[in-house]
């Protein structure tokens, strides 16, 4: 019983990270109908920035801030340089380009900082059943999620972003700068992704550290319907707890396979996610 309790608590803080990275995917998907496979790499690069800054200055929080800013800039640049030219191309094009970016950024990280694991600090004390660090992770993610929801729902910026995503032509005639809104979406998402990277990385940083987290984040986003930020947050927490049980009772090697199984089962029963609405296709 004690085990069960511990696993649940551990799952909640892991799930918070999946929810955050999943949220980054959903923001971009809503804005541009692109699943950003480069998301873990953007987060990775900004986490390496945090590592270097922290090492140079000795301040964890300075590194933290630099990482989030760097992540935002990376997201904006990616949208402008790589995604904008593909606006009228097939879904496959954007999948392949973001995958290409993933490979390049991971390789560049390995070239600059080497493939060897580097020690990367926790924000707070991480010892104990539900440590100060776990609490911090959950609080940050909940706060970010709330902020994103408020921005989308209640601010003029959010209204314009939604308009640009759902009806670009109409939005344009009403004076919304659609391109700017799409770029803003990528910037926002990359900032959230960088945060997730900072929270997920400790104790060790290496180029593939976020691969697994990304798979779970994608699973969380798909569970939520890829279009639904609230669903993704819920999906992230549910997945985190579920996978924590799998890891505790069946072994950590089974976790990715379990995530795959959950993904396949959910999508077989509900092809547009647990919280997504089925789209009607017109012939």
């Amino acid at each position: 019983m004690q085990d069960f309790f511990d696993l649940t608590l551990g799952g909640i803080s892991a799930g918070a990270v999946y929810a955050a990275l999943g949220l980054a995917l959903v923001i971009i998907y809503r804005a541009t109908r692109v699943v950003n496979f480069a998301q873990p790499a953007l987060a990775l690069i900004s986490t390496y920035f945090a590592y270097s800054v922290t090492k140079a200055t000795g301040s964890y929080w300075l590194g933290f801030a630099v990482a989030v800013v760097a992540g935002t800039v990376l997201g904006v640049v990616t949208e402008r340089l790589l995604i904008r030219p593909l606006r009228h191309r097939s879904e496959l094009s954007s999948i392949i380009v973001t995958l290409g970016l993933l490979l390049v950024l991971q390789a560049v990280a390995g070239m600059i900082w080497s493939n060897e694991p580097l020690a990367f600090p926790y924000a707070f004390d991480f010892r104990g059943r539900f440590s100060a660090n776990d609490l911090f992770v959950v609080l940050v993610v909940v706060a970010i999620a709330a902020l994103v929801l408020v921005v989308f729902k209640y601010t003029p910026l959010g209204l314009r972003m939604r308009a640009a995503a759902f009806a670009p032509e109409v939005a344009r005639t009403l004076g919304v700068r659609v391109g700017l809104m799409l770029t803003a979406g990528w910037g926002l998402a990359a900032a959230v992704g960088s945060l997730a990277g900072l929270l997920a990385t400790p104790p060790f940083l290496f180029p593939n550290v976020l691969d697994g987290v990304f798979v779970y984040a994608l699973t969380a986003a798909v569970l939520g319907g890829l279009d639904n930020p609230l669903g993704t947050i819920a999906g992230g927490f549910v997945l985190g707890v579920g996978l924590s049980y799998v890891s505790g009772y069946f072994g950590p090697e089974m976790v990715t396979i379990a995530a795959l199984a959950i993904l396949v089962i959910v999508l077989t029963l509900r092809p547009s996610g647990l919280f997504g609405r089925a789209k009607v296709r017109r012939v």
Partner: protein, 356 residues
């Protein structure tokens, strides 16, 4: 991905009726010719190049399978390394546990194991599209090699399994590696003949119909789900065979060779060669092997440190994916096609010029 602008050239059919030989025969003869070329190539090159030729061989069949799936049916798989993983471990386990089995049986079973996994993956994938499918297959590529750590006694943990195959008859005067290269290419060409027949035939037409418009395909009587699953099956059989051949050639099967990066570089090869063209699969496979080799040479020549050298191939694959999609959506084979059209056109102009 892009619309072809040139019109197909109109050709006047000659009324003379010629009996065309059955395509299977044509392809089999072409494969025989290709095998002869490979044998000649291995005879005039050193051992090092032999190994590269063999490596191109098994990549070729893996990339061809992925071309059929992604290029022809429009299903993106980011997990094709997983099928190679299954093939490699099947061969490794069979050689170690049932050494009496002949090599061809091991390879057949490796293909079958890959196919079985592909059937399962395909059944799940038939309901997924685009990013959903990509995500699920990526999970396959990340998750499957982790199983080796779950069953360390059976699958050898992270060191994998090593073994030796004695495929060559005693007394044959051919070096081992050359002989292995021949076996690899013989298997690959046999499989390719089947794949080419599938692609050129009715099933291939169904694949393309499903890719271009699922609703229209369903309305014209194509079972869309079944067609997608079949594409996964064929493609995974190719992947399983490729993995089996790799294990046979290297004498090991280890999880470190089947990272998600392998799956992504296979996709890079498909895109670089030209989506939807089996010739493109050949250029893609050659590129996979030679980019690796060149980046090693370059690292040696420039005295790059190991961190840079180790990551150079991945960076190159990534750049290729981006540049090809942005600038040359039809890949290398598209370029050749273009060149062919231009040459024919200029030849025709010359002809016209001479007539006048």
């Amino acid at each position: 991905m892009s619309v072809r602008t040139e019109l197909p050239e109109t050709r006047v059919e000659t009324p003379k009726r010629r009996r065309t030989p059955p395509p299977l025969l044509v392809h089999a003869l072409a494969a025989l010719g290709a095998l002869a070329v490979i044998v000649l190539l291995t005879l005039v090159t050193d051992e090092f190049t032999n190994l590269r030729i063999a490596t191109i061989g098994y990549y070729l069949i893996a990339v061809a399978g992925l071309t059929l799936l992604t290029g022809l049916t429009g299903q993106v798989s980011l997990g094709h390394g997983a099928f190679m993983f299954i093939g490699a471990y099947t061969v490794a386990l069979l050689v170690r546990r049932v050494p009496t089995f002949p090599l061809w049986a091991d390879l057949l079973l490796a293909s079958a194991a890959g196919g079985l996994a592909g059937l399962l993956a395909g059944a799940a994938a038939a309901r997924l599209r685009g990013p959903y499918l990509a995500g699920a297959t990526l999970a396959l590529a990340v998750g499957l090699p982790a199983l080796t750590r779950k069953f360390p006694d059976f699958l050898g943990g992270s060191n994998g399994l090593s073994f030796t195959v004695h495929s060559r008859r005693a007394g044959a005067g051919v070096p081992e590696l050359r002989w292995q290269t021949w076996i690899v290419w013989l298997s690959v060409l046999l499989a390719l003949v089947l794949v080419v027949n599938i692609v050129r035939g009715r099933l291939g037409r169904n694949f393309r119909a499903v890719r271009d418009d699922e609703v229209a395909a369903a309305l014209s009587g194509i079972a869309v789900g079944r067609t997608k699953i079949l594409a996964f099956l064929v493609s995974a059989v190719c992947g399983g065979l490729a993995g089996g051949l790799q294990a046979f050639l290297l004498g090991t099967a280890a999880p470190g060779s089947f990272t998600p990066a392998l799956s992504l570089s296979l996709l890079a090869a498909v895109v670089l060669g030209g989506l939807g063209s089996l010739w493109g699969a050949l250029w893609g496979a050659v590129a996979l092997v030679y980019f690796q080799a060149w980046s090693e040479d370059l690292a040696d020549a420039l005295h790059l440190n190991t961190d840079v050298a180790n990551n150079l191939p991945l960076a190159v694959y990534g750049v290729i994916l981006i540049v090809v999609v942005l600038a040359f959506p039809r890949g290398i084979q598209g370029g050749f096609h273009r060149l062919g059209v231009l040459l024919r056109r200029s030849a025709k102009q010359k002809e016209n010029h001479e007539k006048h």
